[in-house]
């Protein structure tokens, strides 16, 4: 193999989707009839390619080696002299490989056809669907409360974090804060107010650190069975109640 061909393989390296793809490439490149593959030639070029990958220190997928052994096996079978009186019509040793190649080729073409279709969000677009507005009902006395799971709490947390202005997230928060402080703050508020919402707990400063700490504090309090969290409806406001009447 000369320099030129070596470079040619190198360029094609990442384009191959597997040993079958590489074989199809070699067949096309050599303008070979797929039904009559010169196995010796193709095997030689195939092995050359594998050498190429190795010399580039690239990971050689095991599938490539399996194909190499298949090719060598076929080549050796083709070299065997034909029996003088064939008992039954023997299949061409290449038949199975040809079938595999044709099948793969068909799907490769099918994939190309699919890619050429007008694809949603790439070529064609539908009317942009509006996001359903967040329906947060004002708390009322008749609000029927249901217990919320940890997952809903996590969702509420997630919504708040995603609602934050991204710029704000970049700011370095110098405010000194600890989960313990927040726990105490929550307990303080719960002793004066009957219940608070997650939003109210955060106050005006909705920094990521504040949200995370408040969330952790709540989880800790729930674990300690000091507070209970309720929600009126799915995606509704999450309210935090003291688990037991707290001493003033």
């Amino acid at each position: 193999m000369n320099e030129e061909q070596t470079t040619d393989y190198a360029i094609k390296l990442d384009i191959f989707e597997g040993p079958l793809d590489l074989l199809l490439y070699l067949i096309k490149k050599n303008e070979i009839d797929i039904y009559n593959i010169p196995v010796a030639l193709i095997t030689e070029q195939y092995l050359q390619y594998l050498k190429m990958i190795k010399s580039l220190n690239l990971d050689l997928a095991g599938e490539y080696l399996v194909m190499a052994s298949t090719l060598i096996h076929i080549k050796s079978r083709m070299l065997l002299p034909e029996p003088e009186e064939p008992e039954e019509e023997e299949e061409d040793p290449r038949a199975e490989l040809v079938r595999q190649l044709l099948e793969y080729k068909a799907f490769k073409e099918a994939a190309a056809n699919l890619s050429q279709r007008p694809i949603l969000e790439r070529d064609v677009f539908t009317r942009a669907a509006l996001l359903p507005e967040e329906t947060e009902k004002a708390p009322s006395d008749e609000e029927e409360l249901v217990e919320v799971s940890i997952f809903e709490l996590i969702e509420a947390f997630h919504r708040l974090v995603t609602r934050l202005d991204k710029k704000e997230l970049m700011e370095i928060d110098l405010e000194k804060m600890s989960v313990t402080d927040i726990i105490n703050e929550i307990l303080d508020r719960l002793s004066s107010e009957k219940n608070v919402t997650f939003d109210e707990l955060l106050g005006e400063i909705k920094s990521r650190r504040r949200i995370v700490y408040t969330f952790l504090a709540l989880l800790e309090l729930i674990k300690l069975r000091m507070v209970k969290v309720y929600q009126a409806t799915a995606f509704g406001v999450i309210r935090i109640f003291p688990a037991v009447e707290m001493e003033a």
């Binding site: 793969y104 099918a110 190309a112 699919l114 279709r117 007008p118 949603l120 969000e121 070529d123 064609v124």
Partner: protein, 199 residues
């Protein structure tokens, strides 16, 4: 009374997903289904003739307004996003599942000659593929099939609209690998879909 054609047009515009004939029937029970079909065909033809920026397409078993494919670049500019594209490996895997479903991973891998795990994961995440059940063979491998979203994304009415594989016809295919025509969700899941992990 308002023209039925106008009503249907309004319904399609107001619907977020492709609007099926059955849905239109529930809104307009007094109109014969066959008549609705005719009106829909006329409506599609009207938009085609107009050749404007909007197409009325039949996708995934329903009707939907879509922008004209040739105008994609302008809409993309408005939306300021890069086109979502699938890798060659994912596209090949998707094509194999589309034509051969229901299919297990090993069958996909024997066709492509390489591991299909990653491609399947990507396609599942994009909701183009789904698990339709488990095959009743040792190891109970997962059986994959395409979703309704697949039809929507590739603008297909149903799976029968997939172009026939050119060269495959020449090959003797085992009878079990017949492409099913069912397109709607759940219809392919004839095999018991129990113990599905994380579905």
């Amino acid at each position: 009374m308002e023209s039925i054609k106008a009503i249907i047009e309004a319904l399609i515009l107001a619907s977020e997903a492709p609007l099926g004939l059955d849905k239109i029937c529930t809104v307009l029970p007094q109109v014969e289904k066959s008549e609705l079909k005719e009106i829909l065909a006329a409506l599609v033809a009207e938009y085609k003739e107009r050749a404007g920026g909007i197409c009325l397409e039949e996708v995934a078993g329903g009707f939907q307004f879509r922008t004209r494919p040739e105008l994609g670049q302008w809409v993309k500019k408005l939306k300021g996003m890069k086109p979502a594209s699938l890798s060659a490996a994912a596209m090949e895997t998707l094509a194999i599942v589309a034509y051969r479903q229901p299919i297990v991973k090993a069958e996909i891998e024997s066709i492509r000659g390489v591991d299909a795990g990653h491609a399947l994961k990507v396609l599942m995440e994009k909701k183009l593929l789904r698990i339709v059940g488990r095959k009743d063979v040792p190891g109970r491998p997962i059986i994959y099939g395409t979703t309704k979203k697949f039809l929507e994304v590739f603008g297909l009415k149903d799976l029968s609209e997939l172009p026939t594989l050119r060269e495959l016809k020449e090959l003797n295919e085992p009878a079990e690998n017949v492409v099913p025509v069912e397109a709607d969700e759940g219809a392919v899941a004839e095999e018991p879909a129990e113990e599905l992990p994380g579905s």
